[in-house]
Symmetry: C2
Subunit: 204 residues, 2 copies
DNA sequence: CGCCTATATGGCAGCCACTGCCACATCGCG
DNA sequence: CGCGATGTGGCAGTGGCTGCCATATAGGCG
């Protein structure tokens, strides 16, 4: 199950090589610097050069750690997608699409480190159009990835694709409605409760 | 009803000043060149410089006509938003949020010049992630603009904001599911029919 | 008709995100 | 220690986009 590189690393005495520890340290340093500056002066008003400078690395290196400025938000979309897909797949075959998807977003919700950090990042995301655009695009990718999984749980027949897409889109729309409301209220209550309320409003 | 500038223009013998005609001509030339190149070699693979060159204007001038590369798609989001809002507002006060929003997207659907052109642009949009992201962001702006209009048509009470947002998001999700399916099928059938099917799948 | 101003255009320099290339340093292994 | 793999920095370049300034031209005026 382990990739060759990880096997190699595991054979080293200190469990993690110096290089790997250094890598994680630099990663965290960059991430923290970026978040700090983003919050202080705004995302669009923070050039990469400044982040690199204050984090103590060259621009070139920064781009090797994070391929894109957006990645500096630390959202870790890769993990998001994996957890989402895994949770949906893990649902029993007789679970409806709605139930399975709800389980998926519940699993994802548990990924946040802390309420405060989640609130901070989501606020930044909500107030920065370019960031929102990027997030929405990733969301779209998840939606298409989810398609086959959801189709299995729906009535077959004409227009399955359209119907499955609609269901997935609706679930994400309700999640976003819940998140936005949660952020605007300053983090009051539980996002999943809000989600259930939103879905109830839609499905009567 | 006319703006000062238009009044002034109307007083000129030829009804539209030379400048204005020239402006429209250049606009069309740029738009056509851009669309042609985008379709031929892809959006991301078409630098502004090439469009400007083949359209016979300088880069600087091109950017004065269209502030952004995305604008070269000619989607005319401004009009989209206006029509959408107007149609929703024009619905009778006792119309439900669902009905009003359906009227809105129906009105917007009528904006397309032709099926072929709509298909061409939507295909390009679907196959170019960066374009999709831009579009989604504009969509989000429409959603927030729609919020107050929709809230009026919903049961007041706790969590109106969240519920209204969820309804709007769902409507757009169904529209997108319909559009995507429509494009993938090569433009078969009517988008509004697909929309109704999607919404039915969601709301039971 | 000729002047004069408002507007349109082009060119240039520059910013910012991002990439490829190359040189050099450093780590880990035998 | 020495060698090969890997990490790092610098530099030049691309592409979208903006500000500034010079120039050209349309349209109103006497």
């Amino acid at each position: 199950m382990l990739a060759p590189m990880e096997q190699e690393a595991a054979t080293i005495g200190t469990r993690t090589s110096l290089r790997e520890r250094s890598r994680q340290l630099v990663t965290r340093e960059i991430l923290q610097t970026a978040l700090r500056l983003f919050v202080k002066q705004g995302y669009d008003e923070t050039p990469i050069a400044q982040i690199a400078l204050e984090a103590g690395v060259s621009q070139r290196t920064l781009f090797r750690y994070f391929g894109t400025k957006e990645d500096l938000l630390g959202g870790n979309e890769h993990q998001f997608g994996q957890v989402l897909m895994a949770a949906v797949s893990a649902q029993p075959p007789d679970a409806s699409a709605w139930v399975a998807l709800r389980a998926g977003i519940a699993a994802v919700q548990a990924l946040h480190d802390s309420r405060e950090q989640a609130l901070e990042r989501l606020s930044l995301l909500n107030s920065t159009p370019s960031l929102r655009a990027g997030w929405l695009e990733k969301r779209l990718r998840f939606q298409t990835d989810l398609l086959p999984l959801v189709k299995e749980r729906m009535d077959t027949g004409a227009g399955v694709d359209a119907r499955a897409r609609a269901v997935i889109g609706t679930v994400f729309a309700c999640l976003e409605a819940a998140s936005t409301t949660w952020v605007e209220s300053g983090g009051k209550g539980d996002v999943m409760d809000l989600y259930d309320e939103c879905l109830a409003a839609v499905r009567g």
